[in-house]
């Protein structure tokens, strides 16, 4: 008989950093979101702390992607979207129209489900962000490339072929390149929407390790459909269902002893 607790990292339940007061990077206050007439997020309230990995889980269509795309306002690419309530990034309401999305997105990077490098060289992919922000100095750019690729644990694999097309990389490498591209503009928060769902097990592992490293410097919010993954890598987990935030808790706590019956049903695979 297999215990589900084996899925969870073997760490003491009370972790050393539990008592350190961390600042919140994001706060959602009564946040609602509609696509046209259909309400997709309902009265979401929660705070996301810095330098942590926050996992968002829930069955397909529950609004996970929609939620994290709201955090950098990518959700506005859907023209019919309507939002209300508050969504604070470092205390400033990003739904406020005066807040420039370009600025927000420079601060809040995003990694997507499918690796989406640009059809350019590896080098060009990484310097894309710095370039649009006006950095032209070749030396600085080179440094950025090296540091970002190292940060994404990709440097050793690609350092000899920086000028080759990014599509020559494997899926997992492409995904790490996307992470590097994101690191290049030194964001504050990194959003990740099922970043490993298109990857093979080994690449998945690498990305998971990377996430663990990155949280030292960045705050990470990650959507995943793989509960084991959430259990493995996150500090806190939020469970969404039908657009509602059902439960939000330390990951260890949630997986060993969910408060809500629906959470339990979900993590034991009764639905979804």
């Amino acid at each position: 008989m297999i215990l589900i607790s084996t899925m969870v990292r073997n760490e003491p339940t009370i972790r050393p950093d539990d008592h350190v007061e961390k600042k919140d990077v994001f706060q959602a206050k009564n946040f609602n979101l509609w696509y046209g007439e259909k309400q997709v997020l309902k009265d979401i309230n929660f705070n996301i702390a810095e330098n942590e990995v926050t996992a968002i889980i829930g069955p397909s269509g529950c609004g996970k992607s929609t939620f994290i795309k709201s955090l950098n306002r990518m959700v506005e690419l859907v023209p019919i979207v309507k939002m209300n309530g508050e969504l604070l990034y470092r205390g400033k309401n990003i739904l406020d129209n005066k807040f420039g999305v370009e600025e927000l997105r420079t601060k809040v990077g995003m990694v997507f489900q499918k690796p989406n490098p640009f059809p350019k060289s590896i080098y060009e992919n990484v310097v894309y962000g710095p370039r649009i922000h006006g950095i032209r100095d070749k030396k600085i750019l080179n440094e950025i490339v090296e540091r970002s690729l190292k940060g994404a644990a990709l440097w050793d694999e690609v350092k000899d072929r920086l000028n080759e097309n990014a599509y020559g990389l494997s899926g997992g490498q492409q995904q790490r390149l996307c992470i590097a591209r994101c690191l290049a503009i030194e964001p504050d928060v990194i959003l990740m929407d099922e970043p490993t769902s298109a990857l093979d097990p080994i690449s998945t592992l690498k990305v998971e390790e990377l996430v663990q490293e990155l949280k030292e410097k960045f705050s990470i919010i990650i959507v995943t459909h793989n509960m084991q993954q959430a259990a493995r890598i996150s500090d806190k987990t939020a469970f969404f269902l039908n657009g509602e935030l059902i439960e939000f808790n330390r990951t260890t706590a949630m997986f060993s002893n969910p408060d809500d019956k629906r959470t339990e049903d979900y993590i034991t695979g009764r639905f979804g």
Partner: protein
């Protein structure tokens, strides 16, 4: 945190946003050039030709007097041409498309046919006119008949129809074919009962659009010598004929200025006809586009 200087970035952002806003107007302006020309063109033609546009214009044959000139022969000629071109090109085109999409092995020869079709689509229409003149009019001795014209036009639009039909067939979800095969249907049964019915809207849309190209073509028919003054409706495929663009060309090259207005009226009719055909195509496309 040392490379991305927040202040600099913020400053630059303003100018980037300004450029962004301006660019939208530039692109919009460019888009409106096309629309503007279209507007001017249509305005000129309508204002020039509408006074000749009455019932008589549709029931009269060509005449030396502008007031009495009508477009009947050309309309019927065009319809006759379509009656030949439509079925011939659609049957050939769809057959070719089915073969290429569903039967042909992906070998050199298939690729050759495919490339050949793309090239054919880019051959100037006047070269098709030379072909029609040599092969249909002279070699096969069809003379300057509707048949010769219709066949020439069929070949002209064949590649367009093949490509459209291929696309339509390709867009039939693979799952539907699999479902059919999974029931034990043979290939032809699957094609006839599943693929073709599902592809028909796309094929028709492409077919109508291609036909509307044929309706507007002048040069190939000049080559095979469609006639100038025609005061009759073709009776059979061997009849001489004229079509709307030729009739319009004829009118524009009349010395009397009044005939230029008649030509404009003819253009209105031709455009309306094309508009009608395009609308039908768009309706078919919209009606059936969201089915799977």
């Amino acid at each position: 945190m040392e490379f991305i200087n927040e202040e600099k970035v913020a400053k630059r952002t303003d100018s980037r946003l300004l450029k962004n806003r301006l660019s939208k107007w530039v692109f919009m302006l460019a888009t409106s050039v096309g629309l503007l020309v279209l507007g001017v063109l249509i305005y000129r033609i309508v204002s020039q030709g509408y006074s000749y546009l009455n019932a008589d214009f549709f029931t009269n044959f060509a005449s030396r007097r502008p007031e009495e000139a009508g477009i009947k022969a050309a309309i019927f000629g065009t319809i006759w041409l379509m009656v030949i071109t439509g079925p011939v090109s659609i049957v050939l085109g769809v057959g070719c498309a089915i073969y290429l999409e569903l039967y042909a092995k992906k070998n050199r020869f298939t690729r050759f046919i495919q490339m050949n079709i793309s090239n054919l689509a880019g051959v100037p229409s006047i070269v098709f006119g030379l072909l029609g003149l040599t092969v249909f009019v002279r070699m096969m001795e069809m003379g300057r008949s509707v048949l010769a014209g219709g066949l020439t036009m069929s070949l002209l639009i064949l590649p367009i129809i093949v490509v459209a039909a291929q696309e339509a067939i390709r867009s039939v979800p693979k799952e539907l074919q699999e479902a059919s095969y999974g029931m034990g249907a043979t290939k032809w049964q699957t094609i006839r009962r599943v693929i073709l019915p599902a592809a028909i809207p796309g094929i028709l849309t492409g077919g109508i659009l291609a036909l509307s190209r044929a309706v507007g073509e002048t040069a190939p028919l000049i080559m095979i010598g469609a006639l100038t003054f025609v005061a009759f409706v073709p009776e059979n495929i061997w009849s001489g004929f004229t079509v709307m663009p030729i009739q319009i060309y004829n009118w524009t090259s009349r010395p009397q200025v009044a005939f230029h207005d008649v030509a404009a009226a003819g253009i209105i009719v031709l455009l309306l006809m094309l508009l009608l055909m395009n609308s039908i195509a768009i309706i078919i496309r919209n009606k059936f586009s969201k089915r799977y």
